[in-house]
């Protein structure tokens, strides 16, 4: 199977180039990450991130044949040859398939992704009804792999000002949480032309999310809440 892989080592290369590599034997149940491990055995300078190898940690997000995804849960047999691998678009490349996620995490930090409670600490846990808990389904599962934000044109053009789908999904996750008491501040922080409203419902985020989550829907819910609050 033929591979075309984006290579760039800022210490050695003047500019990035595409390297052709080939794997002779392909097992039927192989995931792309398995292939990458074998390719690294052929050329040990090839660099990529990976950890859990089962779609939970979100560290091996990359652009696979033009589409963002996790190498560890992408079966090899569905991929067209040559399999073209690039780092996820829109973020600075550190080396080969490894990108600098600082900006992505910064936007995540900006939405204050934790419960804000003004009441005094309760003696027991903060309880929720099953219905209240259900509202968090489809939101809490995000693994912060960055596939969505780095496939979003609005995030490419304004990564410093637009929060991006991943952060906005989390913004809604805490707005939707019955235990959170900072609705007003959270909505206030999302106003303005950039932070939330650069989203033009392109829906690349929904298309690529390896966990099947729907940031566009979450963004719509935030807008609905804003309208409810302002009328």
């Amino acid at each position: 199977m033929r591979f075309l892989i984006y290579r760039y080592d800022p210490d050695k290369d003047a500019k990035p180039y595409m390297q052709e590599l080939e794997l002779e034997t392909i097992r039927e149940d192989m995931m792309l990450l398995d292939a990458l491990h074998e390719l690294k055995a052929l050329d040990e300078s090839l660099s990529f991130r990976r950890s859990c190898q089962e779609g939970v940690c979100g560290s091996d997000a990359m652009n696979i044949n033009g589409r963002n995804g996790l190498a560890c849960i992408t079966p090899l047999d569905v991929l067209k040859e040559p399999v073209t691998l690039r780092p996820v678009p829109g973020l600075p490349v550190i080396r080969d398939l490894i990108v600098d996620m600082t900006q992505f995490y910064q936007q995540y930090r900006n939405v204050k992704p934790y419960l804000i409670v003004h009441d005094p600490e309760p003696e027991i846990e903060r309880k929720q009804t099953p219905e209240e808990r259900d509202r968090l389904d489809g939101l809490y599962e995000c693994i912060l792999c960055g596939c969505c934000s780095t496939s979003c044109p609005s995030f490419w053009w304004n990564p410093d000002k637009f929060l991006g789908p991943a952060a906005l999904l989390q913004a809604w996750r805490f707005l939707a949480d019955s235990r959170d008491q900072a609705e007003e501040e959270r909505l206030e922080a999302l106003e303005g032309p950039y932070r939330l409203f650069r989203c033009h419902t392109i829906m690349n985020c929904v298309d690529v999310c390896p966990k099947g989550l729907d940031p566009t829907n979450a963004i719509g819910k935030i807008k609905q809440l804003m309208i409810k609050r302002s009328i």
Binding site: W157, E191, G192, P193, F197, R198, H200, M226, S230
Partner: protein
């Protein structure tokens, strides 16, 4: 445009104007189909009807509002240097305003005739 006309307000007006334009288009096409014969006087009669001309004028207002929000979005996405952005925003705003005044003048003159 006030400082508040951004974010939620822009987005909301984009939806409202789209909805109006959609409904108006249906109304307009129905009006044309009910006209019977497509003559200049039938067309003039339609336009001169107070309800039609009012709907039409609001339609143009909504069209320019919708274009302004859309243009502003595209400019904000793609033009980053502040000076050029301000210039392009100003030129598009003035261009739209020019068209709006012009179309108002045409409609007004048609009604006054």
């Amino acid at each position: 445009m006030s400082r508040r006309v951004q974010g939620l307000d822009s987005w909301l007006w984009q939806r409202i104007s789209a909805l109006y334009l959609g409904l108006f288009l249906i109304y307009f096409i129905t009006g044309l189909l009910l006209m019977g014969q497509f003559t200049y006087s039938a067309w003039q009669g339609w336009i001169l009807h107070p309800i039609n001309s009012t709907f039409l004028f609001i339609g143009f207002l909504m069209l320019f509002l919708h274009s302004w929000v859309g243009l502003k979005d595209v400019i904000m996405d793609y033009i980053h240097p502040v000076a050029i952005r301000a210039l392009v925003l100003m030129l598009s705003g003035l261009g739209l305003l020019f068209c709006l005044v012009w179309v108002s003048r045409i409609l007004f003159m048609a009604i006054m005739r």
